[in-house]
């Protein structure tokens, strides 16, 4: 099978599948440009007429969009920083240092990945409350500084591939373990770190359950949660809702387009979305 011999039906089939996958997105974008009267019309059409770019301005004006956006960005930055910082150190401790009980603890770390979040949900809420973090973005960010198991696992797998000689050479040069991590491992692990950062960005951007549990002042809502408020309050204004949803999705699509390689490799090695 090579390109020259591709039968026409193959192209047809692939195109059809692709169109099926993408059409919901296209529908979202097109709906976001229609007027309310056009939405209620039963024999609907795909194309907006006229194209109402105004919807976007309206959607942004109807909710404190910029405030939510700022919160989302802070949430992403904080989460990524916490994750990278903690996970790289922990992964190094689990991969390139020998100490008694290491494998046992690593087993425990792996096991936590299988634990449904519902089991720990309530006590976690109390812990966060006792730390005085209720109704603060810190409630969502602080746990990221304690190294999430999945990312530790990912980075550890990567660190294990680094040749021992490089580490030994750095140690001979007088590097501390943190020095080894900083000078040797992290520069080499850049692709893995990028994957982790990317996955965590998406996870933080998407997080809905966290704000639902821990935030109660709209001043602190991130977009994911603010958008839902918009849904319930304006469920009849589907065009504005779609415009808001497009604005909310766009950064992730852009990120995907810019970092597609990292993305696909990350998923391929992990098999998971954040």
């Amino acid at each position: 099978m090579n390109a020259d011999r591709t039968p026409r039906w193959a192209h047809f089939w692939l195109a059809m599948v692709t169109i099926l996958m993408v059409s919901p997105l296209a529908w979202m974008v097109l709906t976001s440009l229609k007027g309310p009267d056009q939405l209620a019309a039963a024999p609907y059409s795909w194309w907006p007429s006229p194209w109402r770019w105004q919807n976007y301005a309206d959607a942004v004006a109807t909710i404190p969009f910029l405030r939510y956006l700022l919160n989302s960005i802070l949430l992403c930055l904080g989460s990524v920083a916490g994750t990278l910082l903690s996970c790289s150190v922990v992964a190094y401790g689990f991969s390139r240092l020998r100490w008694p009980g290491r494998d046992l603890l690593f087993g425990a770390l792996i096991a936590t990945m299988l634990l449904p979040w519902q089991v720990t949900m309530v006590p976690r809420f109390l812990v966060i409350r006792e730390l005085g973090l209720y109704d603060s973005l810190w409630a969502l960010v602080l746990p990221k500084f304690f190294a999430e198991a999945f990312y530790v696992f990912l980075l550890r797998q990567f660190f294990l591939t680094v040749p021992q000689e490089m580490i030994d050479a750095a140690r001979v040069d007088g590097c501390s373990e943190l020095g080894v991590l900083w000078r040797v491992m992290l520069p080499l692990a850049r692709p893995a770190l990028a994957t982790v950062a990317l996955l965590e960005t998406i996870a933080a951007w998407n997080d809905y359950g966290g704000p639902l549990l821990y935030l109660n002042d709209p001043e602190r809502f991130p977009l994911a949660y603010g958008l839902e408020q918009f849904v319930s309050a304006h469920s009849s204004q589907m065009h504005l809702l779609m415009a808001a949803a497009v604005l909310f999705t766009l950064p992730m699509v852009l990120l995907f387009v810019l970092a597609q390689r990292v993305f696909v490799r990350g998923i391929a090695t992990t098999g998971l979305k954040g």
């Binding site: 390109a3 591709t6 193959a10 192209h11 089939w13 692939l14 599948v17 692709t18 996958m21 919901p24 529908w27 979202m28 939405l39 903690s86 150190v89 922990v90 401790g93 240092l97 020998r98 100490w99 008694p100 290491r102 603890l105 425990a108 936590t112 634990l115 449904p116 979040w117 519902q118 089991v119 720990t120 949900m121 309530v122 006590p123 976690r124 109390l126 746990p143 304690f146 373990e177 998406i202 998407n206 809905y208 549990l213 994911a224 949660y225 958008l227 839902e228 849904v231 809702l241 779609m242 949803a245 909310f248 999705t249 992730m252 699509v253 597609q260 696909v264 998923i267 391929a268 098999g271």
Partner: protein, 310 residues
């Protein structure tokens, strides 16, 4: 040197260890303890022994909310996992063809997975709107009956079909959720594609020499070689669909609407804990969930010997 290495090692993993103890181990133990208590988060927990578990058993026997949630979860997990395996393999083997523009097709098929869950839920609520939605419009163009989707209960599953629903409404809220989960099949595609490209060419050549056609090659070479990935897909898919929350919460008006047809264990647990303030009962439910997931996973691992190609 060795002793300092272990000291540094422990120091380095300490962030995780602290988090593990405070945010996982303590909650884990606490929820086990509370599952034997009556606790409303506002006053001290009171020990009630096995009451909560007895209540669960009662609900199960009588067909109460817990039984409903269990059935809904099973329906959703089974349908979405099976269909995602089938769809994943089908799509991946098509996308593996060496055709021009392959990268383009792949990118577009992957794109839906980056759509944030909240946006996806909103979008699908609209796509599946019984009156104005794109999908029902499409069905009507094909002269098929309109479906109720998120506004109705599924024909199969719980609550069971209303027999005699002449209008041909088959698909309900859970099917809408399954459809939504299938839209995000892109994650799996990438893994399946990677696995497909890892299958040695020689296997196909040998099969061809034996006179196997395309179809037989698929059944006897491709599929067996994909089984490890299928296994991974099934295990992860199971865990994810049992834990799925955001999209279900959003499409069901936060309460499992309509008529409790989207009340999955995950949602039921959340509502029991934070709406009924029945932490003890919720903890018991969480533990049952945990044990169930563990058992099913263990069972999968056991049976995997018979069907997963190593």
């Amino acid at each position: 040197m060795h002793r300092s290495e272990s000291r540094i090692g422990v120091a380095m993993i300490s962030p995780w260890l602290v988090g593990f103890c405070v945010l996982t181990l303590f909650p884990f133990g606490a929820s086990l303890y509370w599952s034997f208590c009556r606790y409303d988060l506002l006053s001290e927990p009171a020990w009630v022994g096995l009451d909560n578990y007895r209540r669960l058993a009662g609900e199960l026997a009588e067909g109460g909310s817990f039984a409903r949630a269990l059935a809904n979860t099973a329906y959703y997990a089974l349908a979405s996992v099976t269909l995602s395996v089938v769809l994943g393999i089908t799509l991946a083997s098509s996308l593996a063809w060496k055709v021009r523009g392959r990268a383009f097709y792949r990118t577009l098929c992957f794109l839906p997975t980056v759509v944030p869950t909240v946006a996806a839920a909103v979008l699908w609520l609209w796509l599946l709107d019984p009156q104005l939605g794109l999908i029902n419009g499409f069905l009507q163009k094909l002269n098929l009956p309109a479906q109720g989707w998120f506004q109705s209960t599924s024909a199969a599953g719980w609550p069971p079909a209303w027999p005699g629903d002449h209008a041909g409404r088959v698909f309900g809220s859970k099917d809408g959720l399954v459809l939504m989960s299938l839209w995000g099949v892109g994650n799996l595609l990438v893994i399946y594609l990677a696995a497909l490209s890892d299958i040695p060419k020689t296997l196909y050549e040998a099969a061809e020499l034996d006179g196997a056609g395309r179809t037989r090659q698929f059944w006897h070479v491709t599929l067996p070689m994909l089984t490890p990935v299928v296994f991974f897909n099934v295990v992860m898919g199971l865990i994810q669909s049992v834990q799925a929350f955001t999209q279900i919460y959003l499409v069901s008006d936060g309460q499992g609407d309509p008529a409790g047809s989207t009340l999955t264990l995950s949602l039921h647990l959340f509502l029991t804990a934070f709406k009924d303030l029945d932490m003890g009962y919720a903890s018991a439910m969480a533990w049952v969930l945990f044990v169930l997931v563990t058992l099913v996973t263990a069972w999968l691992f056991r049976t995997s010997r018979h069907w997963v190609h190593v």
